[in-house]
Amino acid sequence: MRWIVLVAVAVVAIVIGVAVGPSQLGVRTLWDAVRGQGDETTIAIVRDLRLPRVSLAFMVGGSLAVTGAALQALVRNPLADPFLLGLSGGAGLGAVVAIALNVGGAWGLPLAALGGALLAIALVYRLALITGSVLDTRVLLLSGVVVGAFAASMMGAILALSPASDVRNALLWMLGGFDRASWRSLTVFGVYASVPLIVIYRQARPLDLLALGEEPAKYLGADVERTKRLLYVAASLLTAAAVSVSGIIGFVGLVIPHAIRIVWGHLHQSLLPAAFLLGGALLALADAVARTAFAPLTLPVGVVTALIGVPVFVFLVRTWAT
């Protein structure tokens, strides 16, 4: 039953995302345009702008939620998410460096972002081990925030000093948004995201064990070190793919896994796909709000996810504390 509801929510979010936009199209016109009939511009708006944009927002939202769920189990802290662990910042810095050096292109940008994300997570991990040989998850999260801040200030320096206006405007792109969405960018994202999504899903059982703690996980037969390495790299690649098509979008990875755990419990076998569907629905709707709330002006989608995410987070912390 709850699966039916969740799938219905996802479908409704996608339909709303395609149906609304700054240009108001009637149901009839929309349906004709989807089938390739009617005015050329309307067909292009629906088929080449809205459909890939909503699909990309859904895929990115789902991926961020899955990344957050995996990271929270990995570090056994409910506050972990790609943004707070410095992954998004590292990926953004990698992407900005690639843009500033004018290398990469559509397929190379995610790889540059992946380089930044891996460097960031390695640095965060190393910092967290400063206090001793046992990983302290509180220090890990603080290190993530510090590395994220460092990456943000490096991006700021590159953007301030760069003579080229296109690099300066990368700042706007970093705020997050799906203006770059097309069938091509959806393909790029799909190719880069599918492997880590499968990897994380296949690690659902070890994630259940890891969530109990590394020692118990070892006793219960998990290859802890290998699982951790695999998951960190997969999380980095997912974050990098997301950042390189849509900039830095916060709160989806943090809030969605919590919301899902309330209804689905803690088993990753079902938690991960459920988080993917709800994260996708949330970001598709957030993007619809960003496009239409102040039409014809657009908001950065990160603003909308923060407006939705912060109150939900406060609510979750309250229920969690009591």
């Binding site: 706007l172 097309s182 091509r184």
Partner: protein
């Protein structure tokens, strides 16, 4: 809108004072602050490219001791040392030039620096230079401050003649609709309160975002596709921008048909006495595009 009202107010005050005395003590700048006319203007720092160009046009260019790094016209401006950015500028770099006047583009982000300079006893003036009407007002004020009022009068008269000529020779019909795209990701377009918008309407075309009462706006590609401009105007030297090849932009008819007009040169992005020539050039470019 508020600054428009202020500007109109300043204009009204200026006009009202003119018959009595050209160097009236009660002249006000575009921020509504009284302008001290008794100060010598021998060492001037200009913090806007439009103001630098205007000072050179008035014949006061050799009195400039500082400019922004964006002041690239006339070529002689390159001999003036740069003090960096013009918005939220570096107060130490300005003070180091020992100016007696510092001229700002009117913006709230300059308020702190204006206060700091006033404390140092340096006279300041804020000018809004977004269109030809602003340019004429600024010429009158700077003419009075620098003692070049007669030059300002001549230049303004000639500009008025040029603008009259342009208005009377506007091609008949509604003209092509134009969207000015200044950035592609996210798409940023020029709204009504921009000099380029004024240039476009004098050239006999329509800015498809004329309803946006702001200098520029972030919109989605869908909005541009829906407004369906005949021509896209880009500030660049290349007639086919990189982003035009991206698949999502093919939803815009003018992109598919490669209807781009590239305007390069500072006469298009800031009001100056070269403006009428820019309008003539844009007319030629638009005519070539509609052939």
């Amino acid at each position: 809108m508020f600054s428009r009202t202020l500007g109109a107010l300043a204009l009204a005050v200026t006009v009202a004072c003119r018959p009595a005395d050209h160097t009236a003590q009660s002249m006000r700048d575009d921020a509504g602050r009284p302008v001290a006319m008794d100060r010598p203007a021998e060492r001037i720092v200009s913090l806007a490219p439009s103001i630098t160009e205007l000072l050179f046009a008035l014949g006061a260019g050799e009195r400039l001791v500082g400019r922004t790094r964006w002041c690239d016209y006339p070529p002689d401006a390159a001999h003036v040392p740069s003090v960096g950015d013009g918005l939220n500028p570096n107060v130490e770099a300005i003070a180091a030039m020992r100016p007696d006047w510092v001229m700002f583009y009117m913006s709230p982000s300059n308020d702190v620096v204006i206060g700091q300079l006033e404390e140092l006893g340096i006279a300041t003036v804020s000018l809004r230079t977004d269109g030809f009407a602003d340019l004429k007002r600024a010429a009158r004020l700077l003419g009075a401050i620098t003692g070049t009022a007669h030059v300002a009068g001549q230049l303004t008269d000639r500009l008025n003649d040029d603008l009259d000529r342009l208005r009377s020779t506007t091609p008949p019909g509604p003209g092509p609709s134009v969207t000015i795209v200044t950035w592609s990701d996210p798409p940023i377009v020029i709204g009504a309160l921009s000099f380029l918008s004024e240039i476009i309407s004098l050239a006999g075309a329509r800015n498809s975002f004329h309803d946006m009462e702001r200098p520029s706006a972030t919109v989605s590609i869908e909005v541009i596709a829906e407004r369906d401009p005949d021509v896209l105007l880009i500030a660049s030297d290349s007639t086919y921008p990189d982003w035009a090849a991206r698949p999502e932009w093919q939803a815009v008819r003018a992109v598919r048909e490669q209807k781009f007009v590239a305007v390069e040169g500072s006469e298009f992005n800031r009001p100056s006495f070269r403006g009428p020539k820019a309008v003539d050039r844009l007319r030629t470019l638009l005519a070539e595009q509609s052939e």
